[in-house]
């Protein structure tokens, strides 16, 4: 049900994605995440078009974490920030993090080889139904995503929405 991918460049780190729908306690979850009492990056699935988008963000976040060059304070905050096409941290949290009224939540975990993370433990804190990542496209708000990433009409002709998004994510700090 969940999706797992070992980062090629950081083999001791694996990214795990968990998707939940019909979530009733988004507010409580958000509070826990902010307090740091819950493991994982809590992301609004409406802004995600494909798990690859998360992998690109996670890869970048882990890279920056390893060289001590993160822009935010924690690895999970950095993942959320990496999703944003701009360099405004609070805007990134607002748009890509979950809000109290959300009914779907995507949880991203980075699992270190030495540590074991209890997925059931995390899943049990969510008052909602865990669903397969295959259902992600149904939860995506394409219009909102296009607007957020400022995708141009010419761009849509030469590639997918995901291509445009990934490009912006990976090159935002060079501009």
């Amino acid at each position: 049900m969940d999706l797992r991918h070992q980062l090629e460049l950081f083999p001791d780190c694996s990214v795990t994605l968990l998707l939940f729908n019909h979530v009733k306690n988004a507010a409580a979850l958000r509070k826990k995440a902010m307090e740091g009492s819950m493991e994982g990056a809590l992301i609004n699935p409406a802004m995600i078009v494909d798990p690859f988008q998360i992998l690109v963000a996670a890869n970048k976040a882990v890279h920056l974490h390893k060289i001590g060059k993160m822009k935010t304070r924690t690895l999970y905050a950095e993942i959320i920030f990496s999703l944003s096409p701009n360099n405004n941290i609070s805007d990134a949290f607002k748009k890509f993090g979950i809000s109290d009224s959300d009914t779907a939540v995507l949880i991203v975990l980075i699992v270190d080889r030495e540590k074991t993370v209890n997925l059931e433990d995390i899943a049990s804190q969510v008052e909602g139904q865990q669903v397969s990542l295959d259902e992600l496209p149904q939860l995506t708000d394409t219009a909102k995503v296009k607007k957020m990433y400022k995708v141009t009409p010419q761009e849509e002709k030469i590639g997918t929405l995901l291509d445009s998004i990934v490009c912006r994510m990976s090159t935002k700090d060079v501009l």
Binding site: E8, F52, S170
Partner: protein
């Protein structure tokens, strides 16, 4: 004694950036600037470009130059895509090793290889005229964005499969820069012309078709073609600064 002799040589090679641990890793090309690998990155077919450090350069200069080329490449690729010009998607830029991980255009062939195979098979070169038109159009759109490629050759333009569709992709923007000057655009075309005519014999008509399409597509082509004619008369490009 032989093992001892081999030791220092091996250590020298290993001091450079090791190949990235990507599944299905293959070394595609070893150029002067970078080593190019193919492999799976985050589950996708990717190309990893690892810059080769030049030990004869002062380390501070080397670092700065390497960083600048990597950044320019990333910036230019984004600029292309935003303008609807086909170029690989950037997956990850590593500013520590100045490596860049990009989309691999699977089963693509370079325009160079395509032209060679068309010529070798004795096929009708009129198909090359259409290819030239497409190239001219693509370069015109690139220059209209004030993007100078910097290293235009037929091996830096790819054809997506199936080849017949003539779906072109520009690659290798390591020497690219932004400029609106007709001089820079003229030189960009001149570099391509030299590379084109020296690599592919008897293709003068093909390149002419390319320039015709360029002139027809670009709104600012007049001064550019004029400069191109001037650069041709000068011989090799001279950067007359100062």
């Amino acid at each position: 004694a032989e093992a001892g002799g081999a030791g220092p040589v091996v250590a020298e090679a290993e001091a450079e950036a090791p190949p990235p641990p990507l599944p299905g890793l293959q070394l595609v090309q070893q150029g002067a600037e970078a080593r190019i690998y193919r492999g799976l990155f985050l589950g996708r077919a990717a190309v990893a470009k690892l810059r080769i450090p030049k030990r004869y350069r002062h380390p501070a200069l080397e670092e700065r130059l390497s960083r600048r080329r990597t950044a320019q490449e990333a910036r230019s690729l984004l600029r292309c895509r935003r303008a609807g010009i086909s170029a690989p998607v950037v997956y990850f830029v590593d500013y520590v090793t100045n490596s860049i991980y990009l989309e691999d255009i699977v089963d693509s062939i370079t325009v160079q290889d395509h032209i060679n195979s068309v010529q070798r098979s004795g096929s009708d070169t009129s198909s090359l005229l259409i290819l030239a038109e497409k190239m001219g159009e693509l370069l015109a759109r690139m220059h209209d964005e004030d993007l100078i490629h910097g290293d235009l050759t037929t091996s830096n333009i790819l054809l997506r499969p199936p080849t017949e569709k003539l779906d072109l992709v520009l690659i290798d923007f390591g020497l690219s820069f932004i400029s609106g000057l007709p001089e820079d655009k003229g030189v960009d075309l001149y570099v391509l012309e030299k590379a084109f005519l020296s690599t592919h014999p008897d293709t003068e008509t093909v390149f002419k078709a390319l320039l015709k399409a360029y002139a027809a597509t670009s709104k600012k082509s007049g001064p550019v073609i004029k400069r191109l004619d001037e650069v041709r008369l000068r011989g090799r490009k001279r950067s007359m600064i100062g």
